[in-house]
Symmetry: C2
């Protein structure tokens, strides 16, 4: 059929010889914008117009004073502030969507309030076989203690109840949930997890890290209809927050199928950089190497997410020295070091990217050492990632940049955690805690995210926290460990080009420049011209992906 | 962006006003063909030319004497015989590919030869951790008995060996394989399966139906590289046989991912109508209803494959009366009747198609009853399928058409099985055995296939057997139960439009008519003008899918 191709070229030549304007087919000029974006090294750049091709990519970006090309279409933005779509480098897409469909317990200030909310939700949803919720944090409870099965039994005892802590690293069930799971005083703590027990040794109902599996494995599988709804919810939510792309950290087989259903049906708008939740999922789905970009740059499985330790709140983070407020423990390794190395190596053999969760200073050191070792074994640009990098031994900090590791961090965790972190570690071990600026200055790449649904995905709150280290109430005034603030350009880079680079996506999106997709947002203020507090309150007016508007606040 | 669409229409109008020929863009005329195809009701139709559009679909089909439209391109077939691509309504795509990569034991005529072949293969593949093969049939063995673990140990004892019977319903392992599986004299027969035991009660090494799971679950998972290779092998093999589409009966999660990898990479040429191997796979993959056609009509998961009973050869087929040659058994239900009903119902709720394997007369009656019941419960055109329909109680035969059930049958099974079937059933119970003509005459739709890799996929052998009921040696002369032969038009319909209709694909392929994909083959003889023996020897010269040539014998 070689002739056919030649003929098509002839037709194209013929077409270009017609009376059409002498520009490309159906380009669109977006002009009169107050455009702001960050370069990879954290400089703020300005632009006033750009041109989008019919396939949704940027053709040209123009600075003030540059002549506009002739295009078929033009959109006058009337001076609105335009930025590249923000990218969340660490989130849980299906978790966000399912949480939106479950009982939301964030902000619960007492066990009494938790009881009230559980009862109201159970009464409102008589058809649910399991009552599931998420978002409690005992640090915020007036009672100053963990909830128990008995607390929940007091309001719901005829259906199993399962409520996740805000960080996902602990959960509490009622007695019926424990019975269905077969958990008794005789149940042993699993590797990488534990049951909270009372003085008599009986489980209280709180399950830490891998122990959650005792209950979660008896919860009926989420039906695909609900998964489809959850993805839709997550997508709508993120687009309305100005997020156009995310790294999905721990995509399961079911999650992947859900994403593909959306893609196949033309319902996938958000861009998802997927990291599989296991070697099995990774190799089943992607086979012998990362998938191609699917659905016009909307979906790609490029690597794996592994866990080194748990979280600080539940004292699962693995520390070099015992917890200040629990001197009998140094935390729990979720996966032992050798298993992490084997899995990371299995992924790297086939050119998959490796992202490892590490919170405590010992976990971070072990993961750095793992990547140093893998870096010797595997050639090419691997872009190893550590997720969270919360507590570092200052002595280990320079090794991150040296090993070419990307620091994937979530600014808002700092404002959620700082008081708890002081209790867990004491002041002496905070020398490289949530150390964004030191890591940036050391030469490592920062990629910022929110860890949604653990935190709210609002990236403007993330940007505000990144430059202020003050929480929503302005505490602590002047910022916690203020020298670890970064400037706005650095924060914006970490939420755009840095996050894209961290997902091998910088040739697809992350900036408005020729060849990349036209993913941008229209916002109600200029981030460079407002206070941090005002920055956090930025409203997203419109969100565009691939040159198409997918969200408008007025809708 | 409404303006953009208007402008595009203007450009199209402009284009059509240029000096191009006044026909559609890049149509191709295929002319000077001796074209043959079957109508849905089994009539042979002739054509001499057809027009393919640039998107690979048929635009026009022309009979002798009709004027040819003007097109940009033309292909002169110089009088060659052209038919629609043949469709196998029941095969195992990955099984065929993996078998091509494993030890092929088909045609082994003695246990001594089996030993020799196993040893040669093991010696030739020192890197394989497990020696796996398939295709033996004790009915063909000079020794007249089943192979045993001891037989295999005599040639390979240092690596586990696992060899499937030709029909997949039995397998033999060596002692090491049994040890790795933890199988001993104390191991009980599972539901839906059994271990062959010696007089002392010790397992001999032969595992029937679900008992195979004892060993298969300890075989390391097939790596994705091998799965990708296997799909490529299967595809090449089938295209070279003139098969352009298949119903994949029992697609696993891993199989599906493999097919999608091929589709995503542009390597998928064969059209696959996928039936999931479980409710879990079905709902995980497809969610709340059949997937759309993916990759331009190449892949769709539309339903589920369930098993009612086993196979006749291994006496797993479920009979109304005991086996003639084993009066202590009526066979084994693989899945109990209630579980089948529940699963079929679960699939039907979400508009998935249900295909159920049934071989024995009791299994067939139970499945017919299940579909009668489901037909009352679920509206719309459901196209229930029974796979194999081998042994029917004549009293049940009319119920197939009455319940709107499609009979998915494999002609070649008849020639492989007839002597064995006479032994298993005796002559009295063969009144509706492999009863293609009676089923066709009753008004039920026939869909033909091969059950590859159980049988060779060659569809011309299938066509020959369908019209002759004689095996490769012409036995029995005149055909076994000769009144069950069908005519060539009926057989061809069952291998094309019937098989497409059975997969809800008649709007995509199965005939050469406007709107359907241009899937066709060029063969070396006219099936209507040769003897059955000559028909079986037809050579496929070229295979085209979606207007593209994907196989040429000369290559």
């Amino acid at each position: 059929m070689r002739e056919r191709m030649i003929k098509i070229r002839l037709i194209a030549a013929l077409l270009s010889a017609t009376a059409l304007p002498a520009t490309a087919f159906a380009d669109t000029l977006v002009h009169n914008v107050n455009g702001i974006q960050a370069s990879k090294d954290g400089k703020i750049e300005r632009f006033t117009a750009f041109v989008i091709s019919d396939d949704g990519r940027i053709v040209a970006i123009l600075q003030a004073g540059e002549a506009h090309p002739r295009t078929d279409y033009a959109i006058d933005m009337q001076g609105a502030v335009v930025m590249p779509g923000l990218i969340d480098a660490h989130g849980h897409v299906m978790g966000l969507g399912l949480a939106a469909l479950q009982l939301d317990l964030t902000g619960t200030s007492s066990i009494a309030e938790l009881q009230q909310r559980v009862k109201a939700y159970a009464d409102a949803n008589p058809g649910l076989r399991w009552i599931q919720g998420r978002g409690w944090n005992q640090e915020m409870f007036a009672e100053g203690r963990l909830p128990t099965a008995a607390d929940i039994d007091a309001v719901v005892s005829d259906r199993p109840v399962w409520l996740g802590r805000v960080d996902g690293h602990a959960a509490v069930g009622n007695t019926l949930a424990m019975e269905l799971a077969g958990v008794t005083a005789a149940t042993e703590d699993p590797d990488g997890g534990s049951l909270i027990r009372d003085a008599a040794g009986n489980p209280t109902g709180v399950f830490i890290d891998t122990a959650e599996g005792y209950v979660t494995r008896v919860i009926p599988r989420t039906q695909p209809l609900l998964l489809d709804k959850a993805l839709g919810e997550a997508q709508r939510f993120l687009l309305s927050e100005g997020i156009t792309a995310v790294a999905d950290m721990g995509t399961s087989n079911e999650d992947w199928h859900t994403m593909r259903r959306a893609g196949d049906a033309g319902r996938l708008q958000l861009r998802i950089m997927s990291y599989a939740n296991s070697i099995e999922t990774l190799t089943n789905v992607a086979g012998t190497g990362p998938t191609p970009w699917l659905y016009d740059g909307k979906l790609r499985m490029g690597g794996i997410k592994l866990y080194s330790d748990g979280a600080l709140g539940s004292r699962g983070a693995l520390l070099k020295q015992p917890y200040e407020d629990a001197p009998d423990t140094v935390g729990l390794p979720v996966t032992d070091e050798l298993a992490i190395k084997n899995r990371a190596s299995r992924a790297a053999i086939d050119n998959f990217q490796v992202a490892i969760h590490a919170i405590g200073d010992l976990a971070n050191e072990q993961v750095i050492a793992t990547f140093e070792e893998l870096g010797d074994a595997y050639e090419g640009e691997r872009r190893w990632r550590i997720e969270h990098v919360q507590i570092l031994d200052p002595a280990d900090l320079p090794r991150i940049a040296e090993a070419g590791i990307i620091a994937s961090m979530q600014p808002v965790h700092q404002t959620s955690d700082w008081q708890m972190a002081e209790k867990r570690l004491g002041e002496e071990r905070l020398g490289a805690a949530y150390a964004w600026n030191s890591i940036d200055q050391s030469g490592a790449l920062l990629a910022f995210g929110s860890d949604f649904p653990v935190e709210h995905p609002n990236p403007f709150v993330g940007l505000k926290v990144a430059i202020s280290r003050e929480d929503a109430n302005g505490n602590p005034q002047g910022g916690w460990i203020a020298e670890e603030k970064v400037d706005l350009g650095t924060a914006l880079a970490a939420f755009t080009i840095g996050a894209a680079y961290a997902g091998f996506a910088e040739d697809q999106f992350g900036r408005l420049e020729p060849g990349l997709y036209a993913d941008f947002i229209v916002i109600d203020r200029d981030p460079t011209a407002v206070s941090p507090t005002m920055l956090a309150e930025t409203d997203v007016l419109e969100t565009w992906i691939g040159g198409k508007r997918v969200y408008r606040a007025a809708d």
